[in-house]
C-alpha cells in the first residue's frame, strides 16, 4: 500500500496539514530520527523505575499543592519579588501582555530586543506585535533563531528547529546571512554565535520565559544549555520575564524534584548546563546585571482551565516535551500540523482553553489514545483521560452546557440522532434481532459509498449469517455446554 488515496472531503485545518506532512518523506525522517533519540535519552536517564515513579508522584503532588493555593502563592510571589526590586505585572490576555512589554520597552526608548526561549512569548506572538511597532525582537536560542530566520514557528517546544536538517539550515544561513554554505554543524553554530553575540551586546531589553517561579524567595528559575538565557537576562539593561500563572511553586526545595524531572524527561540530561536563578535586578554596588527586572504574569485562558477540577491538571505541565517525543501521532505529522503554539499531546489539552475548541476542533480526536503521553508525563497529567473529556465537551449540545471554551464545536444533531438510534437498537433485544435479520438478508443493499470512510477503505458489507447464528449452530453440532 504505497499509494495513498487523497481524501477530498476535509473537515479542518489539522487534517489538511496532516495529509501534507504525512507525504513529506524528509519531514518524517527528521522527526522519526529525533524522537527515537529523545525517547532513548529519557529512558537512559531514568534507569531505576522505582526512583522514577517516586519522583513523578512527588512532582505531581508539588504541582497539585501549588495549584491548590495558587492565588495565595501568586500574591506571595508578587510580594517577594517586589521586595527584591522586581516589578510584577498581570495580564489577562496576550494583548494586555504585549501592551505591558511594549510599554516597558517604550519607557526606555528601546528598539532592539533579544529573547531567550519562551513559549509564552510565542503564545503572545510578541515578535510580530513588537515588529509592527518598530521594535526588532530577535530570537537567541539557536533553534528559535533558525526558525525565526526562515519565517516559521517552532515545531517542538524544546527543539524548535527539529524539523530541519543541517543542509536545510546551511542553505538558510547562506541565503539570509550571506555566509558560505557549510554542512558542518559546529561551524553553523559558530555562525549563530557570532551573529547573536553582537545583538546581545547592543540589545536594549532582554526577554525570557520562566521555568519555575518560587514564591518563598521571589526567584525566577530558568534552565538552558546554550547560555542565551543568561545573556538575555544579564547583558541588556532591562530584563522582562513572561510566564503563565501556573509556573509558581511554593518553596525553593520544591524545585529540586521538578528540575530533575524536567531535564531528564526533556533531554535525558541529569541537569541543564545552566540553571539560572534570578532574584532581583543589579544592586546599587554591583557591576553588571539588568537595572530593571519585570515579570509579566499571563492568564490567557489558564484560569478557565483552573475552574474545572479535572482540567486544572493541565496546569501541572512543566513543558518538558516528553509527551510529544513519545506520541505516535506527533512523530508522524510533526509540530506544525497542529497549527498552534503548543503541539503534541500537551498542546491538545492546553490549547482549547486558550483559543477555544472552535479553532482546534480536531485536536482532541487526533490521538489513538495509546496512553504513552500519560505514562511518561513527569507530573502525571492524565493526558488520555483529559483528551476523552475534551472529546465529550467537543460534542455537547448548547443545552448540555459545555464547560470548556467553545465547547460543542463539533456538536451535530444528525450525529446525535444516529447514536441515539444505535443505542436504542442495541438495548432492545426485539429491535436488535429484527435489525440483524434485515441486515443479513438485505446485505446487497448496503450503500457503496459511506462518507469519507470509503475514500480510503472498501465499504463494509454485513456477513451472510450473524455471529450469534453461527455460534448457535456450532454449539448444537458439538453438543453444547
Amino acid at each position: 500500500m504505497s499509494q495513498r488515496i487523497p481524501v477530498t472531503e476535509l473537515t479542518g485545518g489539522f487534517r489538511d496539514r496532516a495529509e501534507v506532512a504525512l507525504a513529506d518523506g524528509q519531514l518524517r525522517t527528521n522527526f522519526r530520527t529525533a524522537m527515537d533519540s529523545l525517547m532513548k535519552k529519557r529512558a537512559d536517564a531514568f534507569p531505576d523505575e522505582e526512583e522514577r515513579e517516586g519522583l513523578r508522584e512527588l512532582g505531581n503532588r508539588i504541582k497539585a499543592r501549588a495549584l491548590s493555593r495558587l492565588p495565595d502563592l501568586l500574591e506571595q510571589l508578587e510580594a517577594k519579588l517586589t521586595d527584591n526590586g522586581v516589578k510584577v505585572h498581570w495580564a489577562e490576555t496576550t494583548e494586555q501582555a504585549n501592551e505591558i512589554v511594549h510599554g516597558i520597552i517604550g519607557a526606555r526608548q528601546g528598539s532592539q530586543v533579544v529573547k531567550g526561549k519562551s513559549m509564552v512569548s510565542e503564545e503572545m506572538e510578541m515578535n510580530d506585535y513588537l515588529a509592527e511597532r518598530g521594535v526588532e525582537c530577535l530570537e537567541s536560542d539557536m533553534g528559535e533563531y533558525i526558525v525565526q530566520l526562515d519565517g516559521e514557528k517552532p515545531s517542538h517546544i524544546i527543539m524548535p528547529a527539529i524539523h530541519k536538517n543541517r543542509y536545510q539550515v546551511a542553505r538558510l544561513f547562506h541565503d539570509k546571512l550571506g555566509v558560505d554554505e557549510t554542512d558542518d554543524v559546529n561551524e553553523l553554530i559558530q555562525i549563530g554565535r557570532r551573529t547573536l553575540r553582537r545583538k546581545f551586546m547592543e540589545a536594549d531589553v532582554g526577554v525570557s520565559g520562566v521555568n519555575f517561579a518560587i514564591a518563598e524567595t521571589g526567584t525566577l528559575l530558568l534552565v538552558e544549555n546554550e547560555g542565551n538565557g543568561r545573556m538575555s537576562t544579564n547583558a541588556p539593561p532591562v530584563h522582562i520575564a513572561v510566564t503563565g500563572i501556573e509556573k509558581v511553586v511554593e518553596n525553593l526545595r520544591d524545585v529540586v524534584p521538578l528540575l530533575s524531572l524536567l531535564t531528564r524527561s526533556a533531554l535525558g540530561q541529569p541537569i541543564t548546563t545552566y540553571v539560572n536563578m534570578i532574584s532581583g535586578p543589579r544592586k546599587a554596588d554591583e557591576l553588571d546585571g539588568p537595572e530593571e527586572v519585570h515579570l509579566v504574569l499571563l492568564d490567557n485562558g489558564r484560569s478557565g482551565a483552573f475552574a474545572d477540577a479535572q482540567m486544572r491538571q493541565t496546569l501541572n505541565c512543566i513543558r518538558c516535551g516528553a509527551c510529544m517525543n513519545h506520541c505516535p501521532v506527533y512523530t508522524r505529522v510533526g509540530g506544525h500540523t497542529y497549527g498552534e503554539v503548543y503541539p503534541g499531546p500537551i498542546g491538545k489539552i492546553v490549547t482549547p482553553h486558550m483559543v477555544g475548541l472552535h479553532q482546534v476542533p480536531d485536536h482532541p480526536s487526533a490521538s489513538s489514545l495509546c496512553g504513552a503521553c500519560g505514562e511518561v508525563c513527569p507530573v502525571k497529567i492524565p493526558i488520555p483521560e483529559l483528551l476523552q473529556r475534551l472529546r465529550q465537551e467537543n460534542v455537547k449540545s448548547p443545552a448540555e452546557g459545555p464547560k470548556v471554551k467553545d465547547g460543542g464545536a463539533k456538536y451535530s444533531r444528525k450525529e446525535r440522532l444516529i447514536w441515539r438510534f444505535w443505542q436504542t437498537l442495541n438495548s432492545s433485544p426485539v429491535l436488535y434481532r429484527l435489525f440483524l435479520w434485515g441486515a443479513t438478508r438485505f446485505r446487497k443493499l448496503t450503500p457503496k459509498h459511506v462518507g469519507p470512510w470509503t475514500e480510503n477503505h472498501t465499504a463494509p458489507v454485513p456477513a451472510k449469517r450473524s455471529l450469534h447464528d453461527l455460534a448457535r449452530e456450532h454449539l448444537a453440532r458439538n453438543g453444547g455446554q
Partner: protein
C-alpha cells in the same frame, strides 16, 4: 477591575469549597538515591562533568595559580579576567608577576557599560571561584556578587573555576540546606554543569553556543 484582581478572583472562585493540599514533601526521594561516600564525590563529579567536555584538574590549594598560567600558555591566550577583591583573585594577582606568563591580568573593577565592547569580544578567559559543587548532577554553584560579577562566567570563551574539594555536596537538596538558600539568595545564583552547548541542529552536540566554549575546573585539595 484590574487584570490582577480579575485573575485572582477567578482563581479564588475556582477554589471555592476546596482546602489547600498538605505539604507532604518527602525529602528522601531527592536525597537517598543521590548519596556518595566522601571519597566518591569527586569521582562522580568528574565523570559527569567530563562527559560534557569539562576539563578537570585536581591541584593543591597552594599551586593552583601555576596551573592557571599553564592552561593559558597551552592555549596561547593573551589575557585573563579575574576578581582582585576576592581572596583567590588576590592570590592570583600576587603570583602573576612571577608566573612568567605573557597573558595580561584584567580586573572586573568597573560597571559593564564602561567596557562592554571589550568584555564581549576581547577577553579570552576568566577565573572565578565557586561556593561548592553538586556530585549528583555534576554542577558547580556560582554566587556572583559585586566583586565577582555575573558576566565573568559567561562572556569569555574559556572559564576557569576554582572548587574546594571539601565543598562538594551530594545533591542539590543537601546544598540548599547546608547553605540555607531560602534565607537569602544573591541576585543571580547559578548552577553551571559544563561549557555552553546546543543540540538544536539535528540533535548534534556542539559546544560554545553562546557562553564559554571551554570550562576548566580546578579542584583544590585541602592541604
Amino acid at each position: 477591575m484590574s487584570a490582577r484582581s480579575n485573575i485572582l478572583n477567578k482563581l479564588r472562585t475556582g477554589l471555592a469549597g476546596s482546602i489547600p493540599r498538605p505539604d507532604d514533601f518527602d525529602e528522601r526521594l531527592v536525597t537517598e538515591p543521590w548519596q556518595y561516600a566522601p571519597e566518591d564525590r569527586i569521582t562522580r563529579l568528574r565523570s559527569l562533568m567530563e562527559a560534557v567536555h569539562t576539563e578537570i584538574h585536581q591541584v593543591s590549594s597552594d599551586s593552583w595559580p601555576e596551573k592557571v598560567a599553564g592552561i593559558l600558555a597551552a592555549r596561547n591566550l593573551s589575557n585573563l579576567l579575574h576578581a582582585p577583591a576576592t581572596a583567590h583573585g588576590q592570590k592570583l594577582g600576587e603570583y602573576w608577576p612571577q608566573s612568567g606568563s605573557s597573558a595580561q591580568l584584567l580586573a572586573y573593577d568597573r560597571p559593564v557599560e564602561e567596557w562592554k565592547e571589550e568584555l564581549f569580544w576581547q577577553v579570552d578567559a576568566s577565573l572565578t571561584g565557586t561556593v561548592g559543587a553538586i556530585a549528583a548532577t555534576g554542577s558547580l554553584v556560582l554566587w556572583p556578587d559585586r566583586h565577582e560579577p555575573r558576566l565573568m562566567s559567561l562572556l569569555p570563551p574559556l572559564h576557569i573555576a576554582l572548587l574546594r574539594a571539601s565543598e562538594i555536596e551530594d545533591n542539590l537538596y543537601a546544598m540548599m540546606q547546608r547553605q540555607n538558600w531560602s534565607a537569602g539568595l544573591p541576585t543571580n545564583l547559578l548552577l553551571v554543569s559544563g561549557p555552553s552547548k546546543t543540540a538544536d541542529i539535528e540533535q548534534v552536540l556542539a559546544y560554545g553556543a553562546h557562553g564559554p566554549k571551554e570550562l576548566v575546573v580546578l579542584i583544590l585539595e585541602d592541604a
